[in-house]
Amino acid sequence: MNTLAKWLIVAFLVTVPLWLGNQYQYHVLIMMGIFTIGAMSLNLLLGYTGQLSLGHVAFFGIGAYTSSLVSLGFDLQLTDSYTFVVEPKPVWFAFFCALIVSGLCGWFVGKLSFRVRGAYFVIVTISFAEVVRLVALNWVDLTEGPMALNNIPPLASGVPWMEAGALSRRVANYYMVLAVGLVAFLIIQRLVQSRVGRAMIALRENESLAKSVGVDVTRYLVLAAITSAAIAGAAGALYAHYVRIVDPDVFLFIYTVTMVIMVISGGKGTLAGPLVGGLIFGILPELTRGHMLPEVQWIVYGALMILIVFFLPQGIVPAVQRGWATWQKRRDQSARDTSASNGRRQEVAR
């Protein structure tokens, strides 16, 4: 995609509040944005390093819990006589704590599974997410367990005009999500289009060969895990301050599945894939709502997923790219040669 198109998209997104009036549409847009950020972060692991993290929601949830706890304040009785007290902190500070803590967890999972690949990596990540969920469920003194952390301060708290009403708070949330999304996109883009990204792709394509030419695969896997986890944690923090309640069900598998669907249907290992997947699967439920029972709605969702896989097994973005390339080829033989090869190098790794 060329730079102009990218800027046009950004400009379009920035102007959304000018014409969107309905509160509920904002809600849908914000939630979609949050999960799209999650999907982007998952794509770094799944699409580029080839490691399927099916416990990705752990990082999302850890971000959500960390940011909530720091902004709400908490105390931990460490010994009989000593209690560790954290006073409520500003939301922006809590947000950075969330980035750091989830990034650390990413580091931990990366280290933990440094020798573990493929299906085994999948299970380590699922297990990690389950352990974290169960801790959130049972460490009631800290997390309130199944009672949920409630009344989490909204993202904009402290900024007076934003606290005024529900609508302006939504606008604030929207821009927050947009900003975090853009930064995340940029980080991921720069990483994957560099030497670092090549090392990650090498790990995915042929690990032994990568090692033999001097790629420290563990290092890049850990790096990808940290980045991916921190971005997922940011999405989780946005989520917590937006919905203002978190309970251990933020760790539910279905959220990971949602992100996986977005990535794979959009096209894993492409930068635009998660965005396209996020758009489709974030809005789809809302388009079908009201016309059918929720269950039927989900059935349609599942069926659509299957159809996408059948007809566009690499995902939507690579399919469009290929279609575009063929079209151009027909139109202009010589112009095609350079652009398709550049396009392939930058965008589709498979």
């Binding site: 980080i187 560099s194 090549r198 394509e205 033999s212 001097g214 790629v215 790096l223 392939r344």
Partner: protein, 268 residues
């Protein structure tokens, strides 16, 4: 180890030493007590019957497998316990017996991955996309094109590696290894699957590599090639070294003939 005596005394520096190496898989002894050396700038061939332990030796030297016993050292540095990428950093780069490329990447990107060790931009520089990073990328891309031309794959640079013909993939593997700037190149049956004409061309390439002052340790069953390019030949049988010497001598060695060469089809 009397056979070591046959090694010609040279003024060359010994770079790789393998000392009393043993590798066991459970009860199975793949290598037992093997010792040999490679000198700087030499082309040494490691030959031996199927299952003799050649690939296993490569796996140990390149850090993919832990030795049961024995020491591997390169330029005085002990390699045991190092990870493969650290060994590559030390200048030892290997290829694989089973064809091994990044099949879903373009040929030029394969080389770019091979050039990994030559880049040094930090994460922060990468994220900020500093001019240095841009310059380095450009330089790497030029280096990659140069390597492709060197092995004769320049015209294929935008193909997917997986779509290349077999012989071309074998060449690409060597090119990827060369990109990693080895001082010692370990090649595991690089000419396997090439027809005699292609093998001949490859032999010339090996000569060029030698002229670049890269030491080569070669595993190969193609005797024409082995006898043609090697300065010295080490013969492994049942995990033991049974001969070590110049090609002409090895060809006459009755034990080698019995265990390995046979008296087979003359052009094999």
């Amino acid at each position: 180890m009397t056979l070591h005596m046959t090694t010609p005394a040279t003024t060359r520096q010994t770079v790789l030493t393998v000392d009393n190496l043993a590798v066991h898989f459970g009860g199975l002894v793949a290598i037992s007590d093997a010792s040999f050396k490679v000198d700087e700038g030499e082309v040494v061939s490691l030959i031996g019957p199927n299952g003799a332990g050649k690939t296993t030796a490569f796996n140990v030297i390149s850090g993919f497998l832990a030795a049961t016993k024995g020491v591997v050292a390169y330029k005085g540095r002990r390699l045991n316990g190092l990870k493969p990428h650290q060994i590559a950093d030390a200048g030892l780069v290997r290829t694989f017996q089973k064809t091994s490329v990044f099949g879903n990447d373009t040929v030029i990107d394969n080389i770019m991955i091979g050039l990994h060790r030559r880049g040094d931009a930090s994460i922060w520089q990468t994220l900020l996309l500093t001019p240095k990073v841009r310059r380095q990328e450009q330089a790497l891309r030029e280096a990659a094109a140069e390597i492709l031309d060197f092995v004769g794959l320049g015209h294929r640079s935008n193909e997917l590696a997986g779509a290349l013909a077999y012989g071309e993939q074998r060449l690409l593997e060597v090119a990827v290894a060369l990109a990693a700037k080895p001082s010692l190149l370990l090649l595991d049956e690089p000419a396997c699957g090439m027809n005699p004409t292609e093998a001949l061309n490859f032999r010339n390439l090996l000569g060029e590599i030698g002229r670049k002052k890269i030491t080569v340790l070669l595993v190969e069953h193609n005797m024409r090639m082995v006898m043609g390019v090697s300065d010295r030949v080490v013969v492994l049988n049942h995990g033991r070294i049974i001969a070590d010497g110049p090609p002409t001598e090895i060809q006459q060695n009755p034990e080698v003939i019995r265990a390995y060469l046979g008296h087979g089809p003359k052009h094999a």
